[in-house]
Each structure stands twice: as C-alpha cells, then as structure tokens.
C-alpha cells in the first residue's frame, strides 16, 4: 500500500464511521411498536413526508453510478455520455403519472412490492413471479455498480495491492452496510441519505464553481474537451467522441434517455422509497422537486470534460485505462487533500445508501412474491421479516460476487443490462395502473419474448476490448439506426402483448380476477379504507 494519501483516507474513514453509527441508531428513529413486521423493516413504517422522501428518492438518482460512471462516459465519448441528463428529466413526468396511482392502490390493498400489485391486478401468480424475478435480477448489477464506485475512490486514494489486501476495504464497507441494513431496515438509508445528499450537494456545487476558475472558464473547458475528443482513438481508428451528437448517435442518445426514464420509477428500490411516503401528494410534489437533482447531475456529467481539459488528469486516467477514475483523479489533482477526502466520502456514502435500499427492495420481492407466495403461504409477519433480512444479506453477497467476477470497467453497461430487463415489466406495472384491458398471459408472453431478445442482443455486442456486453445499444431491426436495446425489446414486448391479448380474448381464454377497483387508484391517506396497519399508527 504505497502512496496512500493519509489525509484523504482519514477523512474518508471518519465519514464512514459516522454513517455507520447513524445506520445502527436509525432503528430507533420514527419507529413504530415493532420492527419485526415487513412493513416496518422494509418500508420504514410507510410514513415519510415530502422532505424525507425527497432525500430518500434523491439517493436513488445520486448514486456512485452518477458520480463515477456518468462523467466517465462523458470523458470517454463526449456528448453521447450526456444522455443521463434527458433521462433524469423525462423520468419525472412518468413518476407523476404512475407514482400516485401506485401509492394509492398499494395503500388500499397492502401491497409492498410491484409484484404484489401485478398479481392482484391481473389475478396471476406467474405474472407476479415474472415481475419479482425481473426485479431481483435487475437489482444485482445495480448494487454491484455501487461497489465499483467505492472501489474507484479507494484506488485514487492509493489503497491498492493484490489479492485480499485489494478487496479488504470493500469487504469491510460491505459488512458494515449489511449489518446496519439488517438491524435498521429502510430507516438506515433514509437517515444516512441526509448526510450523503448534503455532502454530495456541497461537493458538486464547489466543483462546478471552483474547478472552472482553475481551468480558464467553461468556454475553455469545452474547447479543450472538443480538441481532445477529436483525436483519433488508436483502438478504433475513429475519433473517440464529439461535443454534440451526430447523425450516427441521435437515435442512441434519445432511446437511452427514454428507455432509462421508463425504468427509473419501476425499479424495485424506487418503488420501495416511494411507497414509504405518508401521503399520495408527497409523490406528486417529489416529481416536481426531484429534478433539482437532475440539474446537478447535468453539471456533474460535465466534470468529465474538466478531466479532459486538464492535461495531467487526462493523461493519468488514460494511463490507467479506466475512465471511471476521471472524477476521483480530477478531485485528487485539483482539490486540497482534505476537501478531496470529503468528496471521496460523498461518493463512498453515496454508494451505501442506494445499495441498502436496493437490497431491501430485492429481499421484499423475494420474501413476499416467491417465498410466501409459493413456499410458505401462512408465514407470520415476524417470519417474513426474518426471511427478508436474511435475503438482503444474500443479495449483497451476490452483488459482491458480481463485482469481483466481472470486469470493473463494465459497471455502466451492467446497470444498463438490468435496465433492459426492468423495462420489460413496464406494460404490466405502469400500463396496468391505468388499464385492465391486457390479458395476463399476453403480458407474460410479451415479457418473455422481450427478455430473451434483450439479453441475447446485449450478449452479442462486442468491441475490440470485449467479446460480449460491450454496449447497451444495437442496430434496431428495420430502422437502420443504433438504439438502446431496452426500447427495441419494449416495442417487441408491446406488439406481442397487443396481438396476443386480441387473440386470447377472442378465444375466450380465462382472464384472472382483478381485486382492485377504479376508486382505489385515487385513494388518499384521508380515506378510511387506506390501510395503515395498526402497529404503524402507534408512534
């Protein structure tokens, strides 16, 4: 472990310890009578207000993925990497349309997961299972991505080595995360999110004001970045990118933004955060307030250009052959050690909050929609919580294996693979919130077709550096453009659903029972049939 920056490491560790203490104390924060009920552990008792929900959901956008992978994409390919901004903008009209209806129907019927809703709406256990399995599979690479973020920071601080020494800090961070999620449930990330988001806001605001003054202003940053992107990349024989999208990349840019926006609010962890809010309007307000994060996300992406514009940073990142080091290296070179330490802590803690929510969301899905539904229909609430706690540990171990077994420079594509899968639950979930017209077996068939197409197509993408999963975009059949695989798969999904629904209805195949009523979708906390389980009311 040579060349460790002691100041950076010390500050990083101090914040980690602080957050860990908060994580364990969170079990006492706003608690109901008992934590041994899945609603209490997995949804924080379902009573977060606008403010807490804003921080909690903001934690889903502002992950290590944001801090590391988005600027890395801009560093590596220019304008193409900026698609995260339109994604983070157009996701919110979708949140506004589906979030409140999902909140209402879930609170009337006691749904904790998306799969609960789909099973109840379409009267189909297998469709519920499909949604649950998709959610769990999509969560794994997403959690892995958060760990990759911590790794990038540790590399720049100088914590490296071989074998166990290299992975040890990650294992420690991981064990702590697992321990406080186990004891405190959703309250831990909700409380830690306050620290994390404050740190991240501070760091980004300082970065976008301070660094341009050191680099000769924004105009100069864009000009230098353009010159750097125009140089020929020896691996491909083409320029590595451009300052604006071209005829070749317009479609990819738009479909990546659209496909990811469809995914944002149906990801299990986002739904978990949203259902924990106390009232329907909390979600509507947050749809309007969360774009504040998106604005900073756009500025954050531009840190990739700052890294390009500073020759010593660009050279160091290229020498390491890892664009994910762009932002940590930039901070390391530009900021004094103590502030670089704060910035790294922000990234590290920023990885823990979503990782905790994601593992809770995945374990809720498993416990309710696989374990209880198919194996132990009469499981008690206490047993449900115990199983969920154990599964959240298993999910984290799975993510750890993901990180150690796959090439780390793949993190953004791993997450996009999860995105390809999760988008395929959009018809059942999001359209299902508005209409019951689709036939349950048609939805299942559309999902299956799209999952197979999406996974195979992603697998076939290769580059000089990678044989498989090299990118999340591919040629769109019959269109002659390159587009995000999730969107193509989604179109295939919908075509299958529409055609088969017509056929199945004409053939008179039995459709499941819908346990919801139209009025359930607009219910609010003032309505008497909105479910607050008795133990949740006691404060």
């Amino acid at each position: 472990m040579d060349n460790v920056n002691g100041v950076e490491l010390a500050i990083f560790i101090i914040f980690f310890v602080l957050v860990t203490v908060m994580g364990f104390m969170a079990a006492r924060w706003r608690r109901g009578d008992t934590l041994m009920h899945l609603d209490e552990w997995g949804l924080g008792g379902r009573k977060f207000g606008t403010f807490t929900t804003w921080f909690l959901l903001g934690g889903d956008l502002y992950t290590a993925y944001t801090f590391i992978a988005v600027p890395a994409a801009v560093f590596a390919s220019g304008a193409m990497g900026f698609w995260a901004l339109p994604y983070a903008a157009i996701a919110y009209p979708i949140v506004f349309l589906i979030g409140p209806r999902l909140w209402s129907v879930s609170h009337v019927h006691g749904y904790v997961t998306t799969a609960d809703f789909v099973r109840g709406r379409f009267g189909s256990k297998s469709l519920g299972l499909a949604v649950a399995v998709t959610g769990i599979m999509a969560m794994m690479p997403y959690i892995a991505l958060q760990l990759v973020g911590i790794q990038a920071v540790l590399t720049v601080i100088g914590v490296k080595g071989s074998g166990l020494a290299k992975d040890l800090p990650l294992l420690i961070a991981f064990a702590l995360l697992a321990a406080y999620t186990y004891t405190s449930g959703l309250r831990a990330p909700a409380l830690i999110a306050f620290v994390k988001d404050s740190l991240i806001y501070l760091v980004i605001i300082v970065a976008v004001i301070y660094i341009p003054t050191k680099l000769g202003g924004w105009g100069h940053i864009f000009d230098s970045a353009q010159a750097s992107l125009a140089k020929t990349n020896p691996a491909t024989g083409k320029p590595s990118g451009s300052l604006v999208t071209s005829n070749m990349t317009h479609w990819a840019y738009g479909t990546l933004a659209l496909g990811s926006a469809l995914a944002l609010f149906i990801y299990p962890h986002t739904v978990t955060g949203a259902l924990a809010s106390g009232r329907r309007n909390v979600i509507k307000r947050n749809a309007a307030l969360l774009p504040a994060y998106s604005l900073l996300l756009g500025l954050l992406a531009l840190l990739g250009y700052m890294a390009l514009a500073k020759p010593d940073v660009a050279a160091a990142v290229r020498a390491a052959k890892n664009p994910q080091l762009a932002v940590p290296t930039l901070f390391d070179h530009v900021f004094p050690s103590w502030f670089a330490g704060v910035a790294f802590a922000a990234i590290g803690v920023g990885a823990l909050v979503p990782a905790a929510i994601m593992s809770i969301a995945a374990s809720n899905l498993f416990t309710r929609n696989v374990y209880k539904e198919f194996f132990r229909p009469d499981a008690s609430p206490a047993e449900e919580t115990r199983v969920a706690q154990l599964v959240s540990l298993l999910v984290k171990v799975g993510a750890l294996i993901f990180v150690l077994a796959f090439d780390k420079t793949l993190s953004i594509n791993l997450q996009l693979l999860g995105g390809i899968w999760i988008v395929q639950t959009f018809p059942s979930l999001a359209f299902g919130l508005y209409t019951r017209w689709f036939h349950r077996w048609a939805l299942l068939a559309g999902w299956a077709a799209a999952m197979v197409y999406g996974t195979l197509t992603a697998y076939q993408q290769h580059s000089p550096a990678q044989k498989h999963f090299a990118q999340s975009t591919a040629d769109v059949p019959f269109l002659g453009h390159t587009g995000y695989i999730a969107v193509t798969a989604f179109v295939i999904n919908m075509l299958v659903v529409l055609v088969l629904t017509v056929i199945f209805k004409a053939a008179g195949l039995p459709d499941g029972t819908d346990e919801t009523r139209a009025a359930d979708y607009t219910a609010d906390s003032t309505d008497t049939d909105v479910r607050e389980l008795p133990e949740l009311v006691a404060e």
Binding site: F222, V244, A288, A523
Partner: protein
C-alpha cells in the same frame, strides 16, 4: 369497506396537464433539433445549456400539473 367514487378532473384541466407532461418528451427526444454548438451561453455550447434549462422547465411544468390536479386527489393538506 366504504364506497368511494373515483375522483375526476375536468376535461380542460386534463388536456392542459397532458400537454405539460408530454412537452419535455417532445423537446428532449428531438435530439437533432438541439445537437449544435451555437449559440453559446456563458461558454456552454447550445447542446448543453438547452438541455439544462429544460430540466428547470420540466420541473416547473410538473409543479403546475401538481397544482392543477391537487384538488382532484385529496382535500388540500397543510404541508409538512
């Protein structure tokens, strides 16, 4: 379980809300319309500042949609 009617919104409000929510998609998904460097603003190429400005506009549109539909969802609640 008590009976409760689904709350509805007037057609005019529905159309306005639909426009407010669809506009960001139209703007962001017409990628070629903003894929240009000029005019620059404070050093930012058009591609970047246009998309950043529309984040704010999107937030305002959703905020307006919230205010327009608030009465429809629930009795006005007194904030946090």
């Amino acid at each position: 379980m008590p009976q409760r009617a689904a709350r509805t919104t007037s057609p005019v409000v529905r159309v306005v809300v639909a426009i407010l929510l669809i506009a960001p998609f139209v703007v962001y998904l017409s990628v070629p319309s903003y894929a240009k460097v000029r005019p620059r603003l404070a050093g930012f190429p058009f591609f970047y500042w246009w998309q950043l400005v529309w984040v704010i506009v999107t937030a305002l549109f959703i905020g307006a949609a919230y205010l327009l539909t608030r009465q429809a969802g629930a009795p006005k609640d007194g904030g946090e």
